[in-house]
């Protein structure tokens, strides 16, 4: 539905984006993940026609954003950076303004749209009286106004409280599943991305480092905690039981075995037979965040600029 192919962007002498390519299919929530300044917003600006690419193409439903602007942009709804409104006008007036920006748009039931994003009864308030969460909702209402096929949300959870984030997550899932919208979300909030996306691309320093499937995203390992003085013995047992993998001692009393969950009973049985006191055993999932740091660190990435929020 949304296809970004080999997009390069130079600004002055600096290369901001190098060979960025990805596709978002209908009904999918695609994450676009990277530290601040990695090129997320630049990519989104190119997709939404705010900025031309130096080369490469962006197509929406087969229409090229550069050459067939009207067709392509009519199919995109977007929040780029912060949701911006005319503060002295009401939410309803801001939506009317947005409607007028779309050629040949049929009449939209603004009350229904307001109710859909949880702003029922609040559309006639001036936007300057809105909270940030309400502005985000109004921004989504504006982005959805013309039934776009592609929805682009740049940092959509900024300024939302946990309840608001959960609402947004459910709502986006609903849009993807029931209306078949292709959704692109950018964020630096990794924990959030893990919960919300089907697939995600990791971008750093203007390059896509990897595109991964959300289902298999986490590498899982067995984490086992034993008595300190029995550590060496425990390591021997584990090495004997699983001679094909490398066992890593993580601390004085815990070690990691890179095996499946089904191997836990095997390991546990062996440890108990040798009278080793086991305090804890279970699966540890490598979080997206750890993966992300690994990926960007390897390349001497910009981890300092990277903000994590749990």
């Amino acid at each position: 539905m949304l296809s970004v192919q080999n997009v390069h962007k130079k600004m002055g002498k600096a290369t901001v984006l190098t060979n960025v390519s990805f596709d978002v299919i209908p009904g999918e929530i695609f994450g676009f993940l990277g530290p601040n300044g990695a090129g997320k917003t630049t990519t989104i600006r190119i997709i939404t026609g705010l900025m031309p690419a130096t080369h490469g193409t962006v197509t929406v439903d087969g229409y090229d954003v550069a050459n067939n602007r009207q067709e392509a942009l009519s199919r995109i709804g977007a929040i780029v950076e912060n949701p911006a409104f005319y503060p002295y006008m009401t939410g309803r007036e801001n939506l009317i303004h947005a409607m007028n920006l779309i050629p040949n748009l049929k009449k939209v039931d603004l009350n229904a749209l307001g109710a859909l994003v949880g702003l029922d009864g609040k559309l006639d308030m001036k936007v300057k009286q809105y909270s940030l969460g309400m502005k985000q909702r109004l921004g989504i209402a504006r982005a959805l106004l013309h039934n776009p096929k592609v929805l682009i949300l740049d940092e959509p959870t900024n300024g939302l409280d946990p309840a608001g984030i959960a609402d947004l997550r459910n709502y986006l899932r609903h849009l993807a599943d029931h209306r078949g919208i292709a959704i692109l979300i950018s964020s630096h909030l990794l924990s959030e991305m893990e919960l919300i996306t089907d697939r995600f691309a990791i971008i750093d320093q203007g390059q896509i480092k990897s595109v991964e499937d959300g289902q298999t995203k986490a590498d899982s390992v067995i984490l086992c905690k034993v008595a300190k003085e029995q550590m060496n013995e425990a390591l021997d047992v584990a090495a004997l039981a699983f001679d094909d993998v490398k066992i890593v001692q993580q601390s004085a009393e815990s070690f990691i075995v890179p095996r499946q969950e089904t191997d836990i009973p095997v390991l546990l049985k062996q440890l108990i037979e040798r009278d080793i006191a086991v305090y804890q055993i279970g699966m540890k999932h490598e979080s997206l965040e750890e993966q992300f740091l690994k990926l960007t660190k390897k390349e001497g990435g910009t981890n300092n600029a990277f903000i994590t929020q749990q």
């Binding site: 600006r45 939404t48 026609g49 705010l50 900025m51 602007r69 009207q70 067709e71 942009l73 009519s74 995109i76 977007a78 780029v80 950076e81 912060n82 911006a84 409104f85 005319y86 503060p87 002295y88 006008m89 007036e93 009317i96 303004h97 947005a98 409607m99 007028n100 920006l101 779309i102 050629p103 504006r142």
Partner: protein, 245 residues
């Protein structure tokens, strides 16, 4: 295009400034009325109409600079320009809608001034004749020129304040300098476009233009040339700028 115009109209109408402007025009007209009425005898309708509209139109020029500067400047201030530029409509159309609305808004205020002044003049002796109305109608060329100039500055500079400052400076300072230059080197002054923008000068003070060897035809041509050049520059900048930090 009509929907873009209605957007610009809504954004202008919903601020307080239009009402302030209309209030100021009414106040000026009332002040002129009060001053004339306080003199001896009943004042003439003609001179009241002339003075009051001239005073109000001076303010119209200033408000026109403010309104036009804000048409682009406020979009930058509220960060809403990105939504306009993301619209499937082309940038050329977006810019044109702002220009057209700036002119319409100015004309509405201009008509408001004429109607209010005419209304008060009915209470006075005599009547307003075409000879008085004609130069005032022609003087609308001044604010039209100002719109094009302001629009050009507003795509160049980010801050509304700077745009207003530059336009006011360009407009009034060069009129003053030009005015001095006329007495001294009229052949040079002829090429200062600001001396030509108010075409009513050919009715009000024809000697001034004669000194520069300028004709109405030349003035119209020269002002039009500038307006077109300003708009081409504006459109080019508006098309090519990314308006991103």
């Amino acid at each position: 295009m009509r929907s873009l115009l209605s957007n610009e109209w809504m954004k202008w109408r919903r601020t307080i400034k239009p009402y302030v402007a209309l209030g100021v025009y009414t106040a000026i007209i009332l002040i002129v009325y009060a001053v004339l009425a306080s003199g001896e005898g009943t004042p003439e309708a003609e001179s009241f109409f002339e003075f009051s509209t001239m005073g109000a139109i001076a303010f119209l020029s200033i408000f026109t600079i403010v309104f036009t500067a804000e048409m682009v400047g406020n979009e930058l201030k509220f960060d809403t320009l990105k939504h306009l530029l993301m619209s499937p409509y082309s940038r050329d159309r977006i810019l044109l809608s702002k220009l057209v609305m700036a002119v319409l808004v100015m004309l509405l205020q201009f008509i408001f001034i004429l109607v209010v002044a005419f209304g008060f003049s009915l209470t006075l002796d005599g009547s307003v004749t075409w000879d008085v109305v004609r130069p005032i109608l022609i003087s609308v060329s001044g604010p039209i020129f100002i719109i094009f100039l302001t629009l050009m500055f507003s795509v160049v500079f980010k801050s509304v304040g700077v745009v207003i400052g530059f336009t006011v400076l360009a407009n009034f300072a060069s009129s003053i300098i030009g005015g001095l230059l006329v007495a001294w080197k009229p052949e040079l002054a002829k090429w200062i476009v600001f001396l030509h923008t108010d075409l009513s000068i050919y009715d009000v003070n024809p000697e001034f233009m004669k000194a520069m060897d300028a004709t109405m035809g030349f003035s119209i041509f020269y002002v039009a040339l500038h307006i077109i050049a300003f708009y081409l520059i504006t459109a080019f900048m508006f098309r090519s700028k990314t308006f991103a930090e």
